[in-house]
């Protein structure tokens, strides 16, 4: 733009200078022509000009037509590069005429000059238009007016000769100016094009620069974003790496821990297996040892049984004559019971145990032996029940029979008996039965639950327990029976009937007083009745028999009077306190008076014997009361407790019996 501005300034300057000179020359020319033939020449030139204009007008290109429509007047040419009056040779008349020439940008215009006045102004539409870019300029020397003539000719037209014109000037300077200017205009236009191209390129460059800047900015933003993203990405990568490393470390640590734990588990398992194997071996060792123990104890037991037969029983039986006989057959059986039978039983058992232990192995069983072959042990019952009788008989024979005592001394000196007393041998069958249970229990403890023998041993223990308990119970019943029989023999019944059943058991016996002043009497407490006797002249007279179904007891010395009766149904087991004073009065029983004893007087004074806490009352059928006095408060409490317990037991038995009756009726 600056270049164009500078160039336009030059052209404006040159145009101003040329214009002033040009005006001077034009004035001189007009004066010469008007001096010759003014009118004729001027009219002819007008006509020629019109015809030429029309032809040219037709042949002009579309572009020139359009330009011509736009530019109707000289006033519309606002920025001419150069303008002035030049001489143009006409086409057909070949006359040189004055025309006003104007150059604007790349187009050359020429106009008709106004006639009348001397103003030299162009008028009307342009007579001719040349596109200077398509024209060539040549210098012509053939004309008369040479050397001041040059030719303008369009190059692109179909008719080359048609559109051309010859232009001349008055002065050489003006001629030179125009002749030099016209090619320069082309050059200028070319330059302009180049500049335009350059500008376009420049603008394109600018645009590119803008785009580039935008791209750069966007790139920068992208880069910044990229940097941020890079930072975040780095952070994320860092975090990821940290997490990864942590996970690796954790995996490593877990693996190490797992290895350690696994090693510990392996160690523990190995220890456990060692301990397990050791326990198994120890158990098996212990099991075998206890089995050996069972065998050896059975051997020694059977040996002792046979020893008694060899030393005592057989010599006593085998005496030949009556004089040498020490004991009778009944006495021998009384002392030794069924000893030979026990020897048979246990020698058979010993054979079985020996057979088991000769074939001993880990899988050997021994409990089945005790399940199948111990029914014969029930025959220990007569021996055990006879033992007390045997002991007494032995003591009697030892003290009474001199021959037997000598025989025992000789037998005791025998080496085989190890200086043991005969009573030490006689106690051994009683010791042996509970011992089986101990041995089998130890054997069961040493046998694992998976072993085949464990089940057998459990059953064997149960069976041995049953046998021993049966023997124990038989012994207990035997004792009770002998006790009751003995009491029955001693008692003398005059008026009162006293009957004992096989189930009668003695619970307690002791001395009592029925009243304070009377002598001591004796009382038996059985499981179904209470018997009060009086001892007179080597005899025991039954004075009172009280059935326990009708009996109640009351202790007046306790803080609250505790009455235990079957009728009221109360069950109180309460030992009385010994701090309360004795109640004063007692009531005598008409039954006692009817038995022939002296009448009991009512006494209001307390005697020192049997005062505090040593009496309680018997209530018979809720009517009659008997006061019983005892030696000591402890004895009274014991009697009270035993009677109360017996009454409770009877009541429970009655209830159970009623329940069973109800069940039978329901069924």
């Amino acid at each position: 733009m600056i270049f164009l501005f500078k160039t336009s300034n030059k052209y404006f300057y040159l145009l101003g200078v040329g214009g002033s000179c040009f005006l001077g020359f034009v004035f001189l020319y007009f004066l010469k022509k008007s001096y010759n033939n003014k009118n004729n020449k001027f009219i002819e030139s007008d006509n020629n000009n019109k015809n030429n204009f029309e032809k040219e007008e037709k042949e002009m290109s579309q572009q020139l037509i359009e330009i011509r429509k736009k530019i109707n007047d000289y006033s519309k040419l606002k920025y001419p590069t150069k303008q002035g009056i030049l001489f143009k040779k006409s086409r057909y008349l070949k006359e040189w005429r004055n025309r006003f020439f104007v150059i604007e940008e790349d187009i050359l215009y020429y106009f008709d000059i106004e006639k009348g006045n001397n103003s030299n102004k162009p008028i009307g539409t342009p007579l001719g238009i040349f596109n200077l870019l398509n024209c060539s300029f040549t210098l012509i020397t053939n004309e008369k007016r040479s050397p001041l003539v040059f030719k303008i000719q369009e190059e692109n037209g179909t008719n080359k000769d048609y559109k051309n014109c010859l232009i001349s000037c008055e002065s050489a300077e003006e001629f030179n100016q125009w002749f030099q200017l016209l090619p320069q205009i082309k050059q200028t236009m070319d330059r302009k094009k180049d500049l335009v191209i350059k500008l376009q390129a420049l603008s394109r460059k600018k645009l590119q620069q803008k785009k580039y800047q935008q791209l750069k900015e966007s790139a920068l933003t992208i880069q910044r974003f990229y940097h941020l993203y890079e930072g975040e990405r780095k952070l994320a990568r860092f975090i990821f790496n940290v997490i990864k490393v942590q996970s690796y470390a954790r995996c490593f640590i877990d693996r190490m821990r797992y290895k350690k734990i696994k090693e510990e588990i392996m160690v523990i398992q190995s220890h456990f297996q060692v301990i397990k194997a050791k326990n198994r071996l120890e158990k098996e060792f212990m099991r075998r040892r206890i089995a050996q123990e069972l065998l050896s104890t059975e051997k020694s037991y059977v040996y002792n049984l046979k020893l008694i037969i060899d030393i005592f029983i057989r010599p006593l039986i085998n005496f030949n004559s009556i004089e040498q006989r020490v004991l009778s057959v009944s006495e021998i059986s009384g002392v030794f019971g069924n000893w030979e039978r026990l020897y048979k039983i246990n020698s058979d058992l010993l054979v079985l145990i020996q057979c088991k232990l000769d074939n001993w192995s880990i899988d050997q069983t021994i409990g089945d032996l005790f399940i199948e072959n111990t029914d014969s042990l029930f025959e220990y019952t007569p021996y055990v029940t006879n033992y007390d009788h045997s002991r007494k008989l032995l003591a009697k024979l030892t003290s009474g029979n001199t021959n037997f005592r000598n025989f025992l001394d000789a037998a005791q000196r025998d080496k085989r008996s190890k200086y043991l007393d005969i009573s030490s041998f006689l106690i051994q069958p009683i010791q042996r039965l509970p011992r089986y249970e101990l041995l089998l229990r130890d054997l069961l403890k040493s046998t694992s639950t998976l072993h085949k023998d464990h089940k057998y041993l459990s059953k064997g223990i149960v069976k041995i327990k049953e046998i021993t308990m049966y023997v124990n119970d038989q012994q207990k019943e035997r004792e009770n029976l002998s006790q009751v029989i003995q009491i029955q023999k001693e008692l003398i019944m005059d008026n009162i009937k006293l009957s004992f059943s096989s189930a009668t058991r003695l619970i307690r016996e002791g001395e009592i007083k029925v009243s304070k002043k009377k002598t001591w009497n004796y009382m038996y407490l059985f499981n179904s009745q209470l018997v009060i006797i009086q001892k007179k002249d080597d005899k025991k007279l039954v004075k009172e028999v009280i059935q326990l179904e009708q009996l109640g007891i009351r202790d007046d010395n306790s803080s609250s009077s505790n009455t235990i009766t079957n009728d009221s149904g109360t069950d109180l087991l309460n030992n009385s306190s010994n701090n309360l004073l004795l109640l004063s009065s007692t009531i005598s029983s008409p039954d006692l008076s009817s038995s022939g004893t002296n009448a009991i007087n009512t006494s209001s004074q307390a005697l020192p014997i049997g005062t505090i806490g040593n009496k309680f009352k018997l209530i018979i059928s809720s009517k009659t009361e008997i006061s019983l006095y005892f030696d000591t408060p402890e004895e009274k409490n014991n009697w009270f407790a035993d009677i109360a317990i017996t009454l409770n037991r009877l009541e429970t038995q009655k209830k159970n019996f009623e329940k069973s009756i109800n069940l039978q009726t329901i069924n």
């Binding site: 212990m286 040892r289 206890i290 123990e293 050896s296 104890t297 020694s300 055990v384 033992y387 007390d388 002991r391 043991l420 007393d421 009573s423 030490s424 106690i427 051994q428 009683i430 010791q431 042996r432 039965l433 509970p434 011992r435 249970e437 101990l438 041995l439 130890d442 021993t468 308990m469 023997v471 124990n472 119970d473 012994q475 207990k476 004792e479 003995q486 001693e490 001395e511 002598t519 001591w520 001892k535 007179k536 002249d537 080597d538 005899k539 014997i609 030696d631």
Partner: protein, 275 residues
């Protein structure tokens, strides 16, 4: 040589067999209790220089069979009552056993040679029974000797049997008159003596004759004896009971002296053991 039968009684699992085996054989079986011998014999020397034979019967396994245990008790002359200091139930069981012994022997406990032993005293951390309590209980029962023993570390076992031997020596007169009838006579004679001292002679004669009849259940006395002989017998039994009471009174200082001598004997024995 005198032979005395001793029975070791106690609840199940108190260490009766271990105690007996330690006393007789001198060893302790840790993991296994041998039951080879049911009867253990031991000759011991008393402070008087005499030798006596103790036959010790082990009652392992008979704890729940009371009637069969009864047969042991009748056959025996001295008793060792064992409880475990780690089990209170075993101590409570001793009272039942003590009452049962008195019932079977039909005699007050002061006339029966008896010691109470608290076994397993090496298990101090599991102790639930303390000696002060048992001391008071045995005094209440009337048993003179109470010791805490351990079969494992052989503690106080010899002392226990020494005390039992002393009791056997001191109560020997009762052992000689071991029949129940005489004991019953003594008991009833005491009662009549205390309560009917102001009565006349005829009541004495009648009561003594009735007592002799009751005592005759154990002895085979013919009915042809006269009443005068019965009265003579009763007089002699009463005099013997008085003598027995005097002897029991005089035995107490002897027992204390013998205990002291035993302690001094132990002190003397210690340097010998060291040498």
């Amino acid at each position: 040589m005198q032979t005395y039968k001793v029975v070791v009684l106690g609840a199940s699992g108190t260490g009766k067999t271990s105690l007996t085996v330690r006393f007789v054989n001198g060893d302790f079986v840790e993991t296994y209790d041998p039951t080879i011998e049911d009867l253990y014999r031991k000759v011991i020397e008393t402070n008087k220089g005499e030798h006596i034979m103790l036959e010790i019967m082990d009652t392992s396994g008979t704890e729940r069979y009371l009637a069969m245990r009864d047969l042991y008790i009748r056959n025996a002359q001295a008793f060792v009552l064992v409880y475990s200091i780690t089990s209170r139930v075993s101590l409570l069981e001793l009272e039942n056993i003590k009452n049962y012994i008195c019932q079977v022997k039909d005699r007050p406990i002061s006339q029966i040679p008896m010691v109470v032993l608290g076994n397993k005293c090496d298990l101090e951390d599991t102790r639930v029974v303390f000696p002060e309590e048992v001391e008071a209980l045995t005094k209440k029962w009337g048993i003179e000797d109470f010791l805490e023993t351990s079969a494992k570390i052989d503690m106080n076992i010899q002392s226990a049997y020494d005390c039992l031997t002393l009791q056997l020596m001191s109560k020997q007169s009762f052992l000689n008159g071991s029949s129940n009838g005489k004991d019953k006579k003594d008991k009833k004679e005491k009662k009549t003596h205390k309560k009917d001292s102001g009565s006349n002679n005829s009541s004495i004669n009648s009561s003594s004759s009735s007592l002799s009849v009751s005592g005759g259940s154990n002895l085979s006395i013919s009915s042809s004896c006269s009443s005068s002989s019965f009265s003579n017998l009763s007089n002699s039994t009463s005099s013997t009971s008085v003598n027995n009471l005097n002897q029991s009174q005089t035995n107490a200082p002897i027992r204390t002296k013998s205990k002291r001598s035993l302690k001094s004997a132990k002190v003397d024995k210690n340097p010998k053991g060291k040498c």
